[in-house]
């Protein structure tokens, strides 16, 4: 295969030579720096040369805000949103606002949701829903969970409607689509802190800002899935619509949208999951709910309670994910002729019935309506003792202590210092060489521009520290994850099991990954790396298994018939063919890591995340954006390069058109 590359394509040859040239240059500059010959101006950009992007941006935002009247618009929207949020807040947890009906008894909600679960996915789903809601109520977190849900039930439908409309528009107009694409990729790599501050400034602290940030955060995948679904509608179905005499609107409403149902519902699933992930994070801007409680508990090191909240969040995430996925695959079933009306709508009737019954029951039995603080079955204190005991066991203590001391002092810190010691131009050259080697000239130029911008932003050192966390965590994740995935991929059974674990883990809002990290390592650098590491391992394992399992069986059989041993087969056949898919996982791991590293700022890091979090306290909109864009630019560089390589490679191997 190496031969064919060399023969068939001349450019890659010269590309790799150019790349090595750049690397050589970078090494030279670094060597000069170590020998002390490099002028300081070439090591780091002098402060004087850094343009004050933050101020420019501030000026720009002020202009938009005040002169263009955006502020007036957002204030008006705030009012509107506030009304809706107050309504859901009243219904779900009894905030004293119109319509003053709530709170709805928890038993009524749990029961009707369980019926919905049954309708969508049968008994198992109903049981999952019931367990989730009962757990939440019984450990005494019903109210904070409903605070979170009250925002979610507003944000998710809003994101759905906006995403769907924009998706349709992007599908209709290629020009709009072209304009939207880059915006979407930036939005998807922008750290979430960057969503939060504008939301606060334009939409008031609290649930309103939380709802806005959550909505915006969840829109991009909905747009993408809608466009994808509409493009995939079979041309014959469309022609059938034309021949049936559809007008344009009829075609969209009766033919396109229903035919794209699957993709649109997958979009709904993603909207719900992203909303949940984000709504938890809005704790950082003072939104009450599960996230805020978790933040407070972790801050005061009450790990037992944190753990319980973590379980609630995870259960909610899994339930919402399973339910919406069940909706995706639920196909319409026909009823035999003459089925009575009540039988056709049995689920609806049962749900309503359960709701009404429990509402009435709750009037007489208080526990069915609300579980008070004293009655809850929370075992936070006991768990705390348990965790302390576990951490004090000799070997556990020894292990975490060793990891903390050895890995941190011997590996991580030296690595970080080394990265920081590389002169800025050399660093940029290295990244450019990497992009050139993997992607191509275009990717290299993009990398050059993006990283130069990062250097110009004046936050270079913190950016490098961010990158250091990402690289070390992803490297360790590869060291651990790849062998696990390769082993699991050997049998169908284990592949399925591990994929299920990954799928489930992927639905957890990122915030909960901090809990075990803090439990084991306290508030240290290692905890940061550890939380990123487990978060990033999920896509790595997932795509590796997928890549290995989808190698065409006849190729494997051919290798076996050629007398390859297991190892030979793996190295010569399976891995090369799985590599493009694995690269997608690797890319996602990096994206996840960038995401997590910002959240981990909570633990107290020295990277961009920390600075970003600080901006939340004030009104530093310009600085907030500069920081956010730095992260986005770095993430995009990797994203563009690796995905380009993966698709090139797939084309070369004939795995994809």
């Amino acid at each position: 295969m190496a031969d064919t590359t060399a023969i068939s394509a001349n450019p890659p040859m010269s590309r790799s030579r150019l790349a090595s040239l750049l690397v050589g240059l970078a090494i030279l500059v670094t060597a000069l720096q170590y020998l002390g010959f490099l002028p300081a101006a070439l090591h780091r950009l002098p402060e004087a040369l850094v343009p004050d992007f933050a101020r420019y941006l501030d000026a720009f935002f002020n202009f938009v805000k005040d002169d263009l009247g955006l502020f007036a618009l957002t204030r008006w929207l705030t009012g509107l949103l506030q009304t809706v949020l107050d309504t859901t807040a009243n219904l779900l947890f009894g905030k004293r606002r119109w319509p003053n009906l709530g709170p709805i008894p928890w038993t009524a909600i749990a029961a009707s949701m369980a019926v919905l679960g049954y309708y969508l996915g049968g008994w198992k789903m109903a049981a999952l829903v019931a367990v989730t809601f009962c757990w939440t109520a019984l450990v005494g977190q019903w109210k904070i969970a409903m605070q979170t849900m009250s925002v979610l039930v507003v944000a998710a439908p809003t994101a759905f409607i906006i995403g769907l409309s924009l998706g349709v528009a992007a599908w209709k107009s290629p020009a709009f689509n072209r304009a939207l694409k880059p915006v979407l990729s930036v939005l998807q790599t922008l750290p979430f802190f960057t969503y939060l501050l504008p939301a606060v400034i334009f939409f008031k602290v609290g649930p309103t800002a939380g709802a806005v940030a959550t909505t915006i955060y969840a829109i991009p995948p909905m747009i993408l899935m809608t466009t994808l679904g509409l493009q995939k509608v079979s041309p014959e179905v469309v022609e059938a619509g034309h021949m049936s005499g559809c007008t344009k609107l009829q075609l969209l409403r009766h033919v396109y949208l229903p035919s794209a149902r699957t993709e649109i519902l997958v979009g709904v699933n993603q909207v719900i999951m992203l909303c949940l992930a984000m709504v938890v994070l809005t704790a950082f801007i003072g939104m009450p709910g599960l996230g805020a409680k978790l933040l407070a508990m972790m801050g005061s090191f009450k790990l037992g309670r944190s753990f319980e909240i973590g379980v609630t969040i995870v259960l909610l995430a899994v339930t919402l994910d399973r339910m919406s996925k069940a909706w995706v695959v639920k196909q319409p079933e026909h009823f035999e002729r003459g089925t009575p009306w009540w039988k056709r709508h049995i689920a609806l009737l049962l749900g309503l019935g359960a709701f009404v019954v429990f509402c009435i029951v709750a009037q007489f039995i208080e526990v069915a309506s609300e579980i008070g603080r004293k009655q809850s079955l929370s075992v936070g204190k006991e768990l705390d003792t348990g965790i302390k005991w576990f951490l004090n066991i000799e070997w556990v203590k020894a292990t975490t202590g060793f990891l903390r001391a050895f890995v941190n002092v011997q590996i991580l810190i030296p690595f970080r210092n080394f990265m920081l010691s590389i002169p800025t131009p050399a660093f940029i050259l290295l990244i450019t060489a990497f992009a050139l080697w993997l992607g191509g000239r275009r990717q290299a130029i993009t990398a050059l521009i993006f990283f130069s911008l990062v250097a110009l932003s004046g936050w270079w050192d913190r950016s490098v520290i961010t990158l250091y966390s990402v690289i070390s965590a992803v490297s360790i994740a590869m060291l651990l994850g790849l062998p696990i995935a390769i082993l699991a991929a050997r049998t169908e059974k284990w592949s399925q099991r591990l994929l299920l674990v990954c799928d489930t883990a992927q639905t957890f809002p990122s915030f909960v990954y901090l809990i075990p990290a803090i439990m084991l390592f306290g508030i240290t650098d290692i905890a940061v790396i550890f939380s990123i590491l487990i978060f990033a391992m999920v896509p790595l394992i997932r795509y590796t298994i997928e890549g290995l399992r989808t190698v065409p069986p006849e190729v494997i059989e051919a290798a076996e018939m050629s007398g390859a041993t297991r190892m030979q087969k793996l190295v010569n056949v399976e891995l090369p063919l799985a590599l493009p898919t694995m690269a997608v996982g690797f890319n996602q791991a990096i994206m996840f890591a960038f995401f997590m590293v910002i959240i981990a700022a909570f633990i107290g890091t020295q990277d961009l995340g920390q600075e970003l979090q600080r901006t939340l306290a004030g009104t530093d909109l310009g600085k907030n954006f500069v920081l956010g864009i730095c992260v986005s630019l770095m993430a995009l560089t990797f994203d563009l390069t690796i995905l380009k390589w993966s698709s090139d490679r797939k084309k070369m191997l004939g795995l994809e058109e």
Binding site: S234, E236, V237, E239, A240, H242, M243, S244, G245, C246, T247, Q250, H254, V255, P258, S259, R261, Q331, P332, E333, H334, F335, E336, R337
Partner: protein, 339 residues
Amino acid sequence: MTTDAPVISAKNVWKLFGSAPEAYLKDMPAGRSFDEIRSDGYIAGVKDVSIEVARGEMLVIMGLSGSGKSTLVRCFSRLHDITGGTIEVEGQDIMSLSEKELIELRRNKMGMVFQSFGLLPHRTVLDNVAFPLEMRGQDKHARRERALEVIKLVGLEGREDYFPRELSGGQQQRVGIARSLAIEPDIWFLDEPFSALDPLIRREMQDEFLRLQQLLNKTIVFITHDFDEALRLADRIAIMKDGAVEQCDTPDQIVLHPATEYVRKFTEEIDKARVVHTETLIERGLDGEGDPVDASASVQSLAKLLIQDTRSAIPVAKDGTVIGAMQREVALGILVGTE
């Protein structure tokens, strides 16, 4: 049968795919070949086609995949806008129609059946069949009644409430046929309707189709890549290659007198005795004696008679009256394949 003006009349129709097809066609020198056009960066989907379809006639368009047959039929229904030439449907230039008029035409005059059925997956059989009626705003009651009627016609009674995925391929295509018939179209387009079905079902559906056609007597444009199917169904066959019509004639004539080398290759493997009817073999100035044979009988069906008979000329009769005679020698030649 073919006394009226043609229902569809296409004159010098071109359909080019590429960046600026109209401008290219205008400046293109005459007589440019398919490959030359392709080297200029355009694909000739339909290349200078002139063809007419008479009322009540079944025209089968035949060709290999990529020969332009599907494109041509999509030009007839204006699912594609043509690049050059004119297409008239019942005397009306369809390229001059506004979007509204076009929708009206489709809602009232045209029906189409698709190769992979093109059913709406979220609608029941009944709702799929009633879809065109719903689009033109018929009230719920009337369209349900009409849909049930057509569903019965295609033999799907009792499956009205099923969803497409609950049906077999053959049943799904019956739904497609029922839908195309719901508005009682005058013109019926069928784009390889049976190609996605397995051979046994295909045969059954062809019979079903012939039965329907006898009942309804529509003007039909039928597309297929299966020559046997074409021979079985067609009044006339148009054979296409590289966007152009190579020959358009009755099955008998195509088999007996292929116009080009390409058509000859196609017909080579065909058992001509099954296709050729005695009517085609009538020679002028020939008189036969004795019992006549029927004009619509195939040579193959007369095999025994042709071998045992001793007459050199056999009279041919249509509806009981003798209309001419054929040479036994010629018919025998076709039978044994020396022709």
